[in-house]
């Protein structure tokens, strides 16, 4: 009961921090997709790139998030504002699932289909955009889905460096030993993660080739 009361009272602040949270996750996901899909294609088509690209994305993933925020602090322009820093860090974390699933999706296309396409005289670009990517799209999307769900959780930590988002409630709640405050951050974050998971999962099934 108390929690509901608290939510009703802090409606506006919750909404504002949720929007901030969405902004951090949304921008970083877009960047990760814009960067990760080409890198995934690169490593799927040219095996030389496979190890360095997937290897680096893997290593980034192992850096604890608070430490990563710290590492990025001295970077010019990025370190000047907390939200830029948070977005860059979230982007770096989101890269691995996007790259890996793009790679897996493209490598998973039936080789006979690719050979038929080449034999018919499709150019590399036509093969990529009309055959490989459409056939890999649901696998790529499931990578994006993982990236988004992880980002929603990770973005709460961005509040530690003052980037805002629902983590503000959580950190405040921890400092004040106030469960209601913690829940005010945790519940909307969980709802965001679940709806993103559900929405993208639905899209993934829609786009699955027969």
């Amino acid at each position: 009961m108390n929690v509901i009361h608290f939510f009703a009272q802090h409606r506006e602040e919750i909404l504002e921090l949720t929007l901030e949270h969405l902004w951090l996750v949304g921008v970083s996901t877009l960047l990760a997709v814009a960067l990760g899909i080409p890198l995934g294609i690169l490593s799927a088509h040219w095996p030389v790139w496979n190890k360095p690209v997937l290897g680096s994305a893997n290593i980034i993933q192992t850096i604890p998030s608070l430490a990563l925020f710290g590492f990025l602090l001295p970077v010019p322009w990025i370190g000047a504002r907390a939200d830029r820093l948070a977005i860059l860090a979230l982007t770096l974390y989101a890269l691995l699932p996007v790259i890996r699933n793009t790679y897996t999706g493209i490598r998973g296309v039936d080789p006979s289909v690719v050979e038929a396409g080449r034999g018919m005289g499709l150019t590399g670009q036509q093969l990529l955009f009309q055959v490989e990517l459409p056939l890999a799209v649901s696998v790529i999307l499931s990578g994006v889905r993982v990236a988004v769900v992880v980002s929603v959780g990770l973005a709460t930590i961005a509040a530690a460096i003052g980037a805002g988002g629902l983590g503000e409630f959580i950190f405040r709640g921890l400092a004040m030993v106030n469960n209601q405050l913690i829940l005010a951050g945790a519940i909307p974050a969980a709802v965001l993660a679940l709806s993103a998971d559900f929405g993208l999962g639905w899209l993934e099934r829609r786009l699955q080739p027969q």
């Binding site: 006979s112 050979e115 038929a116 036509q126 080739p209 027969q210």
Partner: protein, 260 residues
């Protein structure tokens, strides 16, 4: 139909060598000419180099030595995309695009070539009829078709832009005996109408005798001999004789084409 020398060779292998990056020699100096309108069958066991030879024609593979000429031009110097679009290509696994309907599969190259959609629709309907499929198949997806239907679509797709050359790599190999027999019969009927230059890969002597106007027997990356179906049955070449022996009785009735 005896290949006519004055027509000139449509496809010509000149001392073609193909070596894998790991050094394995797949083709050791192939010399072979394919004449206009003939069905040349490349016969041999797995690893004999027949599929390699086929892929050298549309430059899915590049020769390590020698040259492959198509319509008088060295393929190494041709525009590879133009070359491939001028050659129909059918493979055993068919490789239909699973995310496209039958009509889109067949119409893909015409669409890329910039045909308008009316012309593509007409062509698709024409081709479906040609390969013996109902028009209502056009809107289906490959996974909704039977194996025989899929292979027919594969042939229709290869014919879409009306190439003068067709390359067929064991196109009927994965089909059941009845369907294969039917498709072989249809191939012969189709070939009488269209008169394409066909290079056909198989390891089945019966199929080679039935469909080929000439049979090129390959073994371990080398061409052993090129013979008409009748001559093949009478051949004193030990490998050809071994094939005839292995496939047993009744081959004479199959070998009909070279005498048409």
């Amino acid at each position: 139909m005896e290949p006519n020398a004055t027509n000139g060779a449509v496809i010509e292998f000149r001392d073609v060598v193909y070596v894998l990056p790991n050094g394995q020699l797949l083709l050791r100096g192939l010399n072979l000419q394919v004449q206009r309108g003939e069905t040349l069958v490349l016969l041999g066991r797995s690893g004999s180099g027949k599929t390699t030879s086929l892929k050298l024609i549309n430059r899915l593979l590049k020769p390590s030595g020698g040259e492959v000429r198509v319509d008088g031009a060295d393929t190494a110097k041709s525009d590879v995309i133009r070359l491939r679009r001028s050659i129909g290509y059918v493979i055993q696994d068919i490789g239909l695009f699973p995310h496209l309907t039958v009509a889109r599969n067949i119409g893909l190259v015409p669409r890329i070539e910039g045909w308008n959609s009316d012309r593509i629709d007409v062509r698709v309907a024409e081709l479906l009829q040609l390969v013996g499929l109902d028009g209502d198949v056009a809107s289906r997806y490959p996974h909704q078709l039977s194996g025989g239907q899929r292979q027919r679509v594969g042939v229709a797709r290869a014919l879409a832009a009306d190439p003068s050359i067709m390359l067929m790599d064991e196109p009927f190999g994965a089909l059941d005996a009845l369907t294969r027999d039917q498709l072989q019969r249809e191939f012969l009927a189709l070939q009488r109408r269209l008169n394409k230059t066909v290079v056909f890969v198989t390891h089945d002597l019966r199929e080679a005798l039935r469909l080929g106007t000439r049979i090129a027997l390959m073994e371990a990356g080398q061409l052993v001999t090129v013979l008409s179906p009748q001559d093949f049955l009478q051949s004193s070449d030990p490998l050809a004789a071994a094939y005839v022996q292995a496939f047993g009785e009744g081959l004479n009735s199959v070998a009909t084409r070279g005498t048409e």
